[in-house]
Assembly symmetry: C2
Homo-oligomer: 879 residues x 2
Amino acid sequence: MKKYVYFFGNNNTEGSSDMKFILGGKGANLAEMSKVGIPVPSGFTISTEVCRDYNLNGGQIPEGLEKQVDEYLKQLEEATGKKFGDDSNPLLVSVRSGAAASMPGMMDTILNLGLNDSVVSRISENTGNPRFAWDSYRRFIQMYGNVVENIEHEKFEHIIDEVKLSKGKKEDTEMSSDDWQEVSNGYKKLFKIEKGYDFPDDAKKQLWGSILAVIGSWNNTRAVTYRQLNRIDETKVFGTAVNVQSMVFGNLGPESGTGVAFTRNPSTGENLPYGEYLMNAQGEDVVAGIRTPKHLDSLKQENEEIYNQLIEIFSILEKHYKDMQDVEFTIENGKLFILQTRSGKRTAPASVKIAVDMVSENLITEKEALLRIEPDKLDQLLHPTLDENAKSQFKVIAKGLPASPGAGVGEVVFDADTAVDWKKQGKKVILVRLETSPEDIAGMNAAVGVLTARGGMTSHAAVVARGMGKCCVSGCESISVSEAKKEMHVGDLVVSEGDLITLDGSTGEVFLGEVPTTDPELSGYFATIMEWSDKYKKLGVRTNADTPKDSQVARDFGAQGIGLCRTEHMFFETDRIFAVRQMIVSDTVDQRKAALEKIFPIQKNDFKELFQIMSGLPVKIRLLDPPLHEFLPKTKEDIKEIADEMEISEEKLTDKIEFLHEFNPMMGHRGCRLGVTYPEIFEMQVRAISEAACEFIKEGNSITPEIMIPLIGEFNELKWLKDRLVPVVEETIKKFGVEMKYEIGTMIEIPRAALTADKIAQEADFFSFGTNDLTQMTYGFSRDDSGKFLNDYIEKKIVAEDPFKSLDIDGVGKLMKMAVDLGRSTKEHLHIGICGEQGGDPATIKFCHEIGLDYVSCSPYRVPIARLSAAQAAIESEE
Amino acid sequence: MKKYVYFFGNNNTEGSSDMKFILGGKGANLAEMSKVGIPVPSGFTISTEVCRDYNLNGGQIPEGLEKQVDEYLKQLEEATGKKFGDDSNPLLVSVRSGAAASMPGMMDTILNLGLNDSVVSRISENTGNPRFAWDSYRRFIQMYGNVVENIEHEKFEHIIDEVKLSKGKKEDTEMSSDDWQEVSNGYKKLFKIEKGYDFPDDAKKQLWGSILAVIGSWNNTRAVTYRQLNRIDETKVFGTAVNVQSMVFGNLGPESGTGVAFTRNPSTGENLPYGEYLMNAQGEDVVAGIRTPKHLDSLKQENEEIYNQLIEIFSILEKHYKDMQDVEFTIENGKLFILQTRSGKRTAPASVKIAVDMVSENLITEKEALLRIEPDKLDQLLHPTLDENAKSQFKVIAKGLPASPGAGVGEVVFDADTAVDWKKQGKKVILVRLETSPEDIAGMNAAVGVLTARGGMTSHAAVVARGMGKCCVSGCESISVSEAKKEMHVGDLVVSEGDLITLDGSTGEVFLGEVPTTDPELSGYFATIMEWSDKYKKLGVRTNADTPKDSQVARDFGAQGIGLCRTEHMFFETDRIFAVRQMIVSDTVDQRKAALEKIFPIQKNDFKELFQIMSGLPVKIRLLDPPLHEFLPKTKEDIKEIADEMEISEEKLTDKIEFLHEFNPMMGHRGCRLGVTYPEIFEMQVRAISEAACEFIKEGNSITPEIMIPLIGEFNELKWLKDRLVPVVEETIKKFGVEMKYEIGTMIEIPRAALTADKIAQEADFFSFGTNDLTQMTYGFSRDDSGKFLNDYIEKKIVAEDPFKSLDIDGVGKLMKMAVDLGRSTKEHLHIGICGEQGGDPATIKFCHEIGLDYVSCSPYRVPIARLSAAQAAIESEE
């Protein structure tokens, strides 16, 4: 007869972790634990083949199964010393589903199976805890009635409500043993009314009802849809297993207890077990906080044998799972059981320390250590954070999007100028805006944090703040900002200029008052992880940086050059915006050239500063990208002021602004299109780059400028511009009489550029994926507007994640892969990188590694994250 | 010895049209003509192999060539009875380049070769026309000096200027024989100064100088670049041939003459030769208009033999080239020569009549007839046009883009309301706007033509006007419109409300006053062409139509259903816009549903009307697409008026407008994204479609509604919406108790939809390419803004054509092909069409045929064009 059932526990385990397809994930895991000597409560697993055969045979269980279950039930009784359905020493069991693939939506569970009126009375006596007994009983009836017999959950809840009403009680915790008994009786009456027969007292009947319900649940609509949506291969995952496991209780007397422990300190990473327990209690009691649990150390005094056994188990678990474990245990009448073990959640510093320690302990290899750390968590190590203990004492007045991590405490200001002024006076300020624009850059730089009412995770505020390593909460829709009145409203609360608030950029929380913060410490452990990352990664890691400050931070964090320097941010600086505006309102090419001449020396100096910081490394500079109207004033007052300053009429300035207005500026007159209309702008920029580089080289240094042309969608755009720009570089090289390597290449950020990348590669020395714009155009999502529907999309599971945060691999990724393949079909060694926001996202970095990019570029504070992610990608693809 | 030279003419032709790669295009064509008995002036062609060998051998001509040329020169002398370099009966020749591929930029030509001082005197005597002789001579020196010896053109011009100055003359026509002689002498002096030697008197020297210059021109920079840019395959097209041809003159006396003729009437298509000639004259004399040429009929009287010979030649030419020909001829001393023949340009009616006639005459097949007609020209037949003769008497005050063909004469109005009012009063009006918006629809409908200062060929005004078959001139930037003052300025001219103007939508011209027009006539010839088109085409042709009127026009033009009905235009109609706005400002779902209930019966009726007109055919209806803010008022006055009407505060309305404002509405909250946020809107529309269709079917008719969901970029969007919309249709079918076929499918207009089309096809019954949006996003060009740089792009040859007019096959086309292949990999018989503006463009239609679409859909007035284009595509792909 075919074997359908597998035992686990009590040194008699038949399965193992490699039998996942037969035992399901849960069953295989229980078998594995018990095989390496962990005392799990005994039980048996009915194989997934039963489920398959049941469905193939129209709801018939295979012949002989009943007999096998009977035998294993007997074996389980022997292992536990208890008897199923017997009221003197009753064996209670749980029945759980578990397929080879995780299917969280359909996992049915029935606990405390085996209870009936006489068993519950006996347990009540045995434990001296009738409330527990009756509460368990009523829970069992409810679970069984709902899962096995399809009685609506609400009907059971109505009965509880009735009893509470009649007793004048509100919370479950107020309910007495008698109350739960009354509820149990009510449940049984409900069962009879709904089904026409009594709730089964017979344990075997209960068991088979539950087994068949679990097997049947494999084909309910919810489960079928889930498998379709998640493309679960039903030729391998053909059914669910059923796990029948003995229940253990920590509240059977003073020799019983329950606890939760980490094998190392999850907060600091220190290699000492860390946990809490309670004697004569259930897991729920620990959680509910009615009694205060004791620290694990006390167990050593209280029961050294159990303590030592537990410590021994911790060591086995760590050796087996090669990671710090979070363990649930129960002591039943002096016998220790492990109910669950899983990798323990930990803080960022702990994750780094544990990984490094485990390598020293020869528990894991360097590669394994790197794979153990969640790259995103490193962020916590790089910014000041709020003191977790102090935090709870402050009021959260609003919650927005966690746009840029770190903590910020300061006085509220509502405009950039005030931010700059107050900073000069030595104050710390938080800049609060409806949304930010490039004109706010100086103010953002002066502030310790930024709060905006509008805009998503990739809004201007968010992107710039992350670039600056400054904390930011964006899209905080519950606040209404009046920039004119210099106040913000949150419900009835009014926060005025100068009031103190605190931002938590890692959670999006906004606090009233000054929450204490703790400073980051880039410990030796962190440095070790970075060193190992560089050892294994294949991708280069560069940074997106526009200023000397950002560049320095990035280089300190290990950036291998600049992957994107946006020159437009330079245009906004106060010492040149006037000339920029003059350039824009020029009527003739000569006027425009004259204005550009004023900007030239300043730009040249900008670049020279960057080259100094990045000496010896490549620096990729993108020529002017945004539409010109972004540089012009917007409000009536500003127009008047600037017109006066420029000595032109307000009308002329207004006309120019109106002329430059665009319906869809994202797809308008910008990037290389500006370069084609006004080649003199790009020529000035290229001259500034070339002269700065040549001068720097002449001074005895080394630098490779890479000139990047934005928004190319068509080969001829690149060709036309290169025909004008290459001579500018060549003339400069000749003028300075130096040798200089340089590259001229293009952003790939327009879908058409990706589609025609073979042609474009003919003229490009490199490609750099601008995945912000590429995502916008591939999806047709405007970053500035998608906030209105994107959250709704995520909620309705239409998209899994914000594609501006983590690359959309199915769509945008497909275009990128196409561009890489087409580009390299023309030039085998074409340099290719990414400089969109997603370049710092671990999943995106993995994809970039897979499709063969040369490097990723990200904001300075994400450089360490990218280094680790790149190492993980390389290690994973080796495997 | 290898044969390098080929004779043509005088019944002694050695080449033919299939020797193009050896003789070049021009040489092969001359050989072909003379082979079929056309008397072309005799000559010989030096093969392209000479050019190749010359370049391979470092500028050495192949051995024996000189001898061959000498022999052929002798043969030419015999054929013409003249002698090269002899001054008693001099043979003059032309020397022309000509490669196998057309290279218009490098075609060097030298005429009148063989002239020198003594020859020119003799010709002067022989012709009795010394002015002609000396003018010919000075032209020859100039051409030779420039082409063979590289003397700058300007230097020759300076000499003419000097002579004119000294004689007090201004125009070339004022110059006498003596003047030209003086110029010739000056030219020869210039030649000596520049080159250090005399201008060659010897004809053989002149000939070899010219031959080598033509051969050498193959490798000049201009030619090399041209071949690279046009990807000319140099393994096949390896050099230029040199054509040496005897010159003939129509001004040698009363027995000489020259003329131009069409083999049929190019204006009406009537099968009668149509032309003009002058005796004792040169071609230039006919063109210059100094003497009035005679009609061809007079030649019959004047010289019946020549006339009959000419008519015979016309017949040979038509039989040979199978098309109406435009022929240049010269009579030299009673002998007829054909200098050139080519397909003759003709009006649209002529092209249709000629094609049909030639089939009756068994000259060409139906398929050939269809290929002979330029589809775009049919447009001329479908709209009233300006009377070409009268047109020239009116002043063109401005010129914009020819956005929608046809003629429009009317009184100027500057707003939609006035247009509607004046129309009611029986006036014809031209609506002039800065640009139009959906609110102008009623006004556009009332007007006979539309003129806008802004916007391109695919602006709102242009698209809507083409859809309405109404003439439109858009982007007329030289006019400035003051809608407030109700006047427009063009330079100093002020045009006020009520002034008469005329638009020519086929040329973009704007006339002051009332230019007479002629009405279109859809003759039997036109109907025949349409019948044949339907016989051969494989693609279906549907129409984009939103109104009963458009639908009726389209059906009359042969549309096989509706490919795109845009429901948003219906939302703007005055009887429902109020409810639409109520719906938009609703605070709750219930309020919104209440407003939608008011729109429902009107929408249902809209659809029923369309179904009636399209009875028996499929009707594809797109659910609401534009962002909601488009329906709200924009100006302060309108906001006040509408707020009052709706009984809400202006603040509330303003707040709503501000909330809905978008930075990039094209990529904002629209299309299916609205459907996900407000499913009740789509549900109402689908209910209206279903009820209208079911009711119509119940009344005994047949219709297949196709429900199209716009802006899908992700499978889950379609799935989510279908889960809500299919039940609405099914319930309606049940309610009416009818059988109804219907389809639910999607636009493919987001690049991501094309990239993931295999997935999307799982849930789609059809795809329809929205190539307007697809082009916008693939190129990153906003249609509303690209006017600012697209003209510049076309001028600088960065793009060849406006991609919104004719599909960008390299980029957008690649995505479309990908979507077709991916979609059909999931569903083999997936229905696929196109409904973008480009769907009516012949080149696009050809591409759609090639990638296997089922149908194209275009504006009603382009349906006949599409039918013909589809037939041409099918016929061409057969070949």
